[in-house]
Subunit: 361 residues, 4 copies
């Protein structure tokens, strides 16, 4: 089926181009009778919003969400929840000089190869603006998971370029993350990241980095082997994000260099079943949550849009030199944090509902 | 929906426990009139098979595949292709002493948490034996992709523990990969890996590692943004494999440490559209193939089964010391190679068919 | 998965309550480069619109559609096409006296039983207003099918209450159907139907009837046995329409009373393969189109809303007498015609695209 | 996606041709810990089996089912339940003379039109033998529904040709249905049907008829508007059966001729919510079960295979006269009864599980 839906039971479908009339999402499968209003959605959108700090793109969008359907007298109806955000500060003119140029490491050429047509205004559907719908839907999932399971999901920037943060996964708080615009809870690293991003911007260049995400309070038993394992669902969700190039669960790539005797997580008796002493499993064993914190990391490449001249070709195959204009992020990491949270929330909401149909007898 | 199906148009559903009567797969959606016989399937199964070398588990299964339906007079019918492999050397008795013990970093506890019941014989459905169906289906996808698109998929072991191979992605051949039982085309590294695996086995311990996979001849245009991007589909596919903990596409985690000006892939004019000078994109831009080689890497943790005594708990919550018996792989990497190829082939077959419904006008 | 999506490759998701802010649809999977504008959508919406004649509900909605995304410079992008229609003449107050009453043969009680909450304003999501999105999406399918296959779909009212029309399936034209507000191409029957509907309205009562639908120009080979047979897909599509209670393909129920020798459709040589002399198969054999006209019939019950007093219960279980107010259709049949067409178009578009992934070698 | 899967949460995938090695099914999504053995499956297969009486085809198949996976120590594991039945009395030779002939009103021509290849042995996948997998899966659903909800599903033959039975829907018992080989609980009608079938057989001809199905004990609230309404799901399920041409829910086509005041089902207070005095709704309102008996009817055309000479064409377009041989049913109705039950059971099991994900807060 076409690729703009995600999830089975908590299922979202997003729509909208960067410079079209609006972007948005339909959430189908949110259980009825959940208290929900736009005030639950807006804060996450505000964390994703352009222009929120000097570190990100200065496009001006207030990204005010409207719930169009599915909520009545403050509660969900069990019917589709349609949510929408208008595109206001669209400046298609700023892209006209690039209408026929394939920007390096962007989706311009591949979009043409696939569809034979593209909206060149701001990347069209390949713009990060597409993620507005994901974040709005993720906010609904957050309300649901908090209510039914006490699940809390939080993410932060753990590296930018070569700057790595030191963070205690089990104690870090949302307040620490939001304490600075780079969304890194290690203040020293945050300062170095900020400085690195500012330098890159001055150089007309860009940086990548890594987001780490933790989900706390996830009950044991979520995940649908063998293909919709919880970590497989997270991996697919994360790599579907713009600019994502890598995913790790638990010990990840580093774990592949250890011996089994150093890597296995010993079990000890716990209050609600076995508990692991370490968490190299990242809260998932055999694709099913084990009751420990879910931990994963997502690598984002440096923003493809840079101001430096770049060699490339146009859509008639001629070599050209591109000098990009248009507003963009020198580093997507601070705005990627709510995206990673949103995808984690969507996966967990879907799997939490799916487990309802397993745990029956 | 339940988690034992994969793909949309080239859709597989697997079944079978490690020590049940049989394991197998139904492939639904393979186009009709494709020449296909068991001789096309068996070689990939033989590469996955236990007992194929001294480096892997010594369970004896000839893993002889039977095509039960969907093929008539040597060609596919367009109806479901059911394939089946009997379990012969099942020794459930070898697992009886572990029937009530939760093995560390295995799926024992999480299976109980999810289902409230489990087949403790050889891990049941959580056994790597489950992948027989994937490999058989992947072999069908291989025949299809070769026929319709000239696509070739090959994978190899690029690291075991701390031993890293040096491999030229664009020239490596299947013959070089199969030249040694560890399936590493760098002979020197292969020797070091073999020695490391033998040492680990002697120590009653285990090793992890990384498999690299390349798909050549993939046309530009495959992938279904925004959620079923080609790299997102690969990520989900790979992390669904037993013991997989990490996925990278193109430059991956290392790319996140570079600047955009170093990371972007410049375009130059090519015979069939723009061509990238470098391939940090791993053949995928904006979730759509760009015509270059698809490149990805998958990290596998060290085998959870080790012979050393381990602290754990039983299913009544009592602390116990586990001394594992039963046949197992000291390192899954050599047998993981055909699994990674199979998942890549399944993703590509599915997306190749999906693009047929896009490229219409 | 939740029930507000339809189709696999040409996939729609609808949203919106009767008296919420808007109703609409996302079409995901429409091929790119199709010329499309709001002018292609509006005519079908106008045929579904309330207030279009004295035979239907007098609720005033101009039902002006806006394409929010997925179309650029007059052509589809291959990205989700979101379309929306505002609710203007919503009069929720008119329903307040029924907020706690379960109207007989409506969805009030079952909605409460399922969701534990309901939007009592005009039936909420159970209102026929929900079908706006279906009709808009069906209009897109119509443009696609005309362009790629020359397929034409038309439906008409073949009975109202006890009045039956006589119509030649192979020659009837859209002009004949639209010649009168009841949408019956048999003028004599149309007059009798009109009179019957007016009488029913005067009596505070309602009528049901049957819509017949024909699809011409459908190539042989569409349909996906064994569960997504073309007739099975049509059956599910039709019975999902509000008030639909019966479906027949080809000879239908009457055919079940014939002998095989009278019922089989003899083949004769034709220009594009075998041709059937009769069409008791309704253009579908073994669930696959055979190149003849697709023919089906859909039975609609009499409108559940009537003005006469009815015995029922409230949501606290007390017996009450309901005297309905609010605007409603004394007979849904004239407005059901575009709905039946829309569902047929959606099924055909989906199956036409699916066959692209079958007819490969 | 390809068409051999049915259901979302209780999902089945069937495989197998009439004369291939075996036919069977995978059930994915059956909840764990359900007591299940082959003895639960065999009785329904025996009711579907050829050769069970003189009224049906004399092909000899004992149709002995094997559970290949998913059950351990007498209980389901929550993993895929694969079930298989071997084809024993396959006589492909009996079909050789028809290998190149398109039998009228069979799927021969449409299969070639779709797939460009077909297994001409006994109709291949288009044979009614395909339904073995459905019935086996339906039997699992029956065990589940009885256990979790006390739901009972039973069907019977309500007409054969022009012979109509008179049956009290609310009191008819399985014993009355199975009292005669025609599976009609009205003994007088059963005798007339038997005689009609025997006459048709002697004439080398065939008969059609109608099966009525009732589901008792279905809780209010099942069904997923707006596209997966309970009656829409039943309609699609039924019309996917071989030879099915019509579907009615509740009052069906006859109801479309009544006035609303005669047709609405008045509510009265009941022990578990409102209760309808009549059941013209067939237990479903707005696509959601209302707690009353679910009632539907399915029309089957007369068997396409008859012994009389018929005009048709071969696969090179030449006119030929077909004189069919091979064993076949003069009337499929008696064997259609377990098929209709199976599809009803599958729909209800799926929707019962889906409601688990709705009724959460």
């Amino acid at each position: 089926m076409a690729g703009n839906s995600f999830g089975d039971l908590f299922r979202i479908t997003t729509f909208g181009e960067s410079h079209g009339g609006a972007v948005g999402v339909i959430v189908d499968g949110c259980p009825p009778r959940l208290e929900l209003s736009e005030a639950d959605i807006q804060p996450d959108l505000d964390r994703r919003r352009p222009g929120q700090s000097h570190l990100v793109t200065q496009r001006r969008e207030d990204d005010r969400v409207t719930i169009v359907s599915g909520v009545f007298e403050g509660r969900t109806l069990g019917t589709p929840i349609a949510m929408q955000v208008s595109n206001r500060d669209a400046r298609p003119g700023a892209y006209e000089h690039m209408a026929h140029i394939y920007r390096p490491s962007h989706a311009d050429w591949t979009t043409d190869a696939k569809f034979g047509v593209r909206n060149w205004q701001g990347g069209g559907r390949a713009s990060a603006r597409e993620t507005v719908g994901r974040v709005a839907a993720g906010a609904v999932a957050r309300v649901l998971l908090r209510r039914v399971a006490g699940i809390e999901v939080l993410a932060w920037v753990s590296s930018v370029g070569s700057v790595d943060a030191t963070v205690d996964l089990s104690t870090v708080t949302p307040g620490e993350i939001e304490a600075n615009p780079v969304r890194c809870p290690d203040p020293e690293a945050a300062a170095a990241m900020t400085s690195a991003i500012e330098t890159a911007r001055r150089d007309g260049d860009s940086l990548g980095g890594v987001v780490t995400c933790v989900a706390r309070g996830v009950p044991a038993g979520l995940g649908e082997p063998v293909f919709d394992k919880l970590d497989a669902a997270l991996a697919g969700a994360m790599i579907s994000l713009p600019a994502a190039k890598g995913f790790e669960s638990g010990s990840g790539f580093a774990g592949s260099r250890r011996r089994g005797s150093e890597h296995n997580d010993p079990f000890v008796p716990g209050a609600e079943g076995p508990r692991t002493l370490a968490n190299r499993s990242g809260g998932i064993q055999g694709g099913i949550s084990n009751g420990a914190d879910i931990v994963c990391r997502v690598a984002f490449k440096p923003t493809a849009t840079i101001s430096r001249p770049q060699e490339t070709v146009d859509d008639e195959g001629n070599p050209v030199v591109l000098e990009a204009r248009g507003r963009h992020d020198p580093c997507v990491l601070p705005r990627a944090v709510p995206l990673v949270e949103a995808m984690t929330l969507l996966v967990l909401a879907d799997h939490w509902l799916r487990q309802r149909a397993v745990d029956v007898l």
